[in-house]
Amino acid sequence: MDEIQKKLNAPSKASREDVIGRIISYTCIAVIIALVVSILYFITSRGIATFTTNHVSLWQFLTGKQWNPGTLSANGQPQVGALPMIVTSFSVTILAALVATPFAIAVALFMTDIAPKTGAKFLQPVIELLVGIPSVVYGFIGLTVVVPFIRHLFGGTGSGILAGTIVLFVMVLPTISSLAVDALRAVPTYFRSASLALGATRFQTIYKVLLRAAMPRLLTAVIFGMARAFGEALAVQMVIGNAVLMPHNLVTPTSTLTSQLTTNIGNTIMGTLPNNALWSLALILLLMSLVFNLLIRYIGKRGEIKS
């Protein structure tokens, strides 16, 4: 009797298995959270040193236009104005996303609704391949093909926001496309069937049903692409020109947050203002990527398909 009672009271094999499963997955998530917290703490603690130890005013940092962290300006304040880089970073990111989105959505529609077979066999592997091309190679193709082309068209040096936009457009295209494919695939098939059954043409179905139903996730795809573009460094650095000047038009040399960071971080001494100021740029990048993510979540929440 006792034995049976024991057996009944003791956790079953299945529930013991479940506990193990839970432990494994909880451990993994704990490790990841530890990693994330450590890198966030690391960047934040270094990034705010500009303001706490070097006493640069935050307002001046965000709105100043002079960037010479090594030298002091006339009034004895260090020249760390990040505005030109912030403006440029946003410009290239938004422009690249604007250009890439129609192409990416076309590619996604082609792969989900127009020619799924060719899409899956040919287009998808090639697009995945694009992700693996090192940014250096993109940068050099930009430097040897895109920059001379722009120079030829508009004169000047050819480096600038336009060149950066073109390079980033190609780089974010795979990201946005593959996420857009996911977004369109997530629209239930009966949406399509219902629309077609009502006599709608394929384009009417796409335009009035598919794109609308998938809109939140499509937006998410675009924002993901923007986050990727915002953080890209090596490729942009080669074509943007790296001159910390306010961009007057699309073809004058200017500098993004990442290009400045990558160019100079190896040349500065840790713990000094020039180095701290670069970490502050990294902190801006981090905060921006946080904003992008919150946007994604907000949009995602508003537009969940309720089935």
Binding site: N242, I265, G271
Partner: protein, 298 residues
């Protein structure tokens, strides 16, 4: 059943990977003690200047071939990284393109300088500008933005586009020290590597920048200054004034193994062949010396 075993294999395998990751540092220590047996292997890490890296890396390979008890790791990361890390004691050698005295935040008196090579730098222009010689004053005016067209210095009617090097980089510090006389360069394009600068100057009409001698090729034009040609021989006598040392810094006096390697770097075997092969000028050939304040003595 089959699928279950498969998945558990995957899971087990991956967990093993995690463990491996966790215990990695232990196994490295073991590897050091395993392979030595008789003699103790000393690990030397040299970090810093990307320009100096190929030389030190190649010398390190040759040195290790005959000195089995030394394990040398040579990495880049930039002069700033090299100086910061050697000052903190995180690495044994910090490679730098500039004097420690010239970078703020470094306590230069704590570091010992070992000069291993000299690198000469020359202004380069796009060949189509039609300029082959500039005076020092003209060069200064170009980089401070006073001269903006090539026809002001005897070239074609073409706008000058200045391509500078990254702020704080050794190459820029050397160039500005020798040319600008304390004036501030105009804000312009900046690139941080010799390779990129070379490609940009070669393709951008009206471009001017500066390169280490070894990166000058037939696609860019090296410019003489006051009719002095940028040659190794002119650098050794300081007739050509834009040059700098390549430094290997140690924190205090180096330990025995590091000292041995630094001695090898200074030996005629390295200085006589390797240094020249990689486009540097041997420290032994120099007839003058320069200090951190850019004062040259014979």
């Amino acid at each position: 059943m089959h699928k279950k075993t498969l998945i558990s294999t995957v899971v087990a395998f991956s967990l093993a990977g995690l463990l491996l990751g966790g215990c990695g540092s232990k196994s490295s220590q073991k590897s050091a003690s395993d392979s030595t047996k008789a003699a103790k292997v000393t690990k030397i890490t040299a970090v810093g200047s990307t320009a100096l890296q190929p030389l030190v890396e190649q010398a390190a390979q040759d040195y290790q071939a005959s000195n089995k008890n030394v394990n040398l790791t040579v990495q880049g990361g930039g002069s700033g990284t090299g100086l910061s890390q050697v000052q903190q004691g995180a690495v044994q050698v910090g490679n730098s393109d500039i004097f420690a005295e010239q970078s703020s935040g470094i306590k230069a008196d704590k570091l010992v300088d070992h000069k291993v090579a000299v690198v000469g730098m020359t202004p380069v222009v796009n060949p189509e500008t039609g300029v082959t010689n500039l005076s020092m004053a003209q060069l200064r005016d170009i980089f401070t933005g006073k001269i903006t067209n090539w026809n002001q210095v005897g070239g074609k009617n073409q706008k000058i586009s200045v391509i500078n090097r990254a702020q704080g980089s050794g190459t820029r510090a050397t160039f500005e020290g020798a040319v600008l006389e304390g004036k501030k360069a105009i804000t312009s394009q900046e690139q941080d590597s010799n390779g990129t600068v070379q490609k940009l100057v070669a393709t951008t009409p009206g471009a001017i920048s500066y390169l280490a001698f070894s990166y000058v090729n037939d696609k860019v034009k090296a410019v003489s200054i006051d009719h002095v040609k940028p040659t190794d021989a002119n650098v050794t006598t300081n007739k050509w004034t834009i040059w700098s040392y390549e430094h290997m810094y140690t924190k205090g006096q180096p330990n025995k193994a590091t000292a041995g390697f630094l001695k090898y770097m200074n030996s005629s075997k390295v200085q006589g062949s390797l240094v020249k092969k990689l486009g540097y000028i041997s420290i032994h050939d120099m007839k003058v010396t320069k200090n951190a304040k850019n004062v040259v003595t014979k």
